[in-house]
Subunit: 246 residues, 2 copies
């Protein structure tokens, strides 16, 4: 038995998220269907660094799985890509120690949230960014974002549905890249709670549109109550960009 | 009755082309369905500058239609966008003389063909460019493209299915834009035959990959036989970029 670590990318538009759900098309079920095909119908479990929701994309999701097949790393990449649907792509496959775990060994993640700043809707972007037609004060958003840097209890910035108890996370970087009319928010941290990047983005948009002042971010963190933060920004702007390991 | 000229953009991935076909989703049928809704069920015919095939995109398709409704240009744009599906977008609507015709008055068109030069497939590009994994001699392609500039009989470069008799067209420009790993071929001319841009692109790819020499383009033009040109490049790389009027 050999454990493999693989970096994959997927267009989330056609999936009901990463994780297996009955009667839904998910990334995990497509991956496991292909592995079953390669292993004479045997179920091979795929573990990811974390779930992504319906419509959320991945540029660098990391998974691991075990297989007894005597296949080289390069052949794995070719075989998986030839069997997988076109909206999932395997970027690399490497052999790893059997103790490696895509989720438990991850020490950090980078997410990006892409906003298209335009009054006209763009049919080519409808699944790949969030169209924001109003003016934004990006300086105010940058100022607000500084309140999130460091180690905080992010209870106010995660879905009330979350079952995770420990809501303390460390955000290392939030930066803003403006290119043409696309504003990309880049979040790097040691981990993110359920919906956390989308709620942070939604809250920063309230600051950018003048509905909240940057200083209010400190109060929202202290409140530890989801109702004080902004709306959850829509799924199609979010990309799991990279997962970091030691 | 007022005639309107409108510039529209669409992601061709979800359509069986522009033109109405029974039991198929087409751009024209979606446009006419929305106009019928706005005119109490009355059929309002939409005329375009030309058809686009299944999977082909438009950044600047031009249409015209007639309506008795007393609506301002700006309101037309808002109304159509609010009723149309997200993969069609109306970029502008203006009032025009009742003699204006989107097809007959067009004096030229710009098409672009987008190639992604990469060995790795990209799930975000599968519907929006043609993945070309092999090396390309772009200088040879440029040299070959010069044989097409000017006025020629393009019989060899159009689908044998074409019913059009006159196959003489004038190409003003073919240029090559290389940005990151995307190579875009830009074609400007007074008109293009059925599949002409895709066949020119497929033939230029044969030159780029060393299967044909640039000078052979002159012979292919003279042969006036589709079988001597290259393969038709796939639909998803093609964009109707702009339509020119006097």
């Amino acid at each position: 038995m050999q454990r493999y670590k693989s970096i994959i990318s997927y267009d989330g538009s056609g999936f009901s998220g990463y994780q297996v759900q009955p009667n839904k098309r998910t990334v995990q079920s497509d991956l496991e269907a292909v592995l079953a095909k390669m292993h004479k119908g045997e179920h091979i479990k795929v573990s990811a660094s974390g779930r992504t929701d319906a419509g959320v994309h991945a540029k660098g999701q990391v998974i691991h799985f075990d297989s007894p097949l005597p296949i080289s790393e390069q052949k794995w990449e070719l075989a998986l890509n030839s069997l997988l649907p076109e909206d999932i792509s395997v970027l690399s496959v490497i052999k790893v120690d059997s103790l490696f775990h895509a989720r438990f060994d991850a020490i950090g993640k980078e997410y990006r949230y892409v906003l298209q700043l335009s009054k006209k809707r763009d049919p080519f972007q409808r699944n790949f960014s969030f169209l924001y037609p109003n003016d934004l004060n990006i300086e105010a958003m940058k100022e607000a974002s500084r309140f999130f840097i460091g180690t905080h209890d992010f209870t106010s910035f995660c879905s009330a549905k979350t079952e995770v108890k420990d809501k303390i996370r460390t955000i290392e970087t939030i930066d803003f890249l403006l290119e043409d009319n696309f504003l990309t928010l880049r979040f790097v941290g040691n981990g993110f709670l359920y919906n956390m990047v989308r709620i942070l983005t939604g809250t920063l948009l309230e600051v950018g549109s003048g509905k909240q002042r940057p200083e209010e971010m400190a109060d929202i963190l202290v409140k530890k109550d989801r109702r004080f933060a902004g709306k959850t920004a829509p799924a199609q702007g979010l990309y799991l960009w990279k997962v970091f390991y030691q």
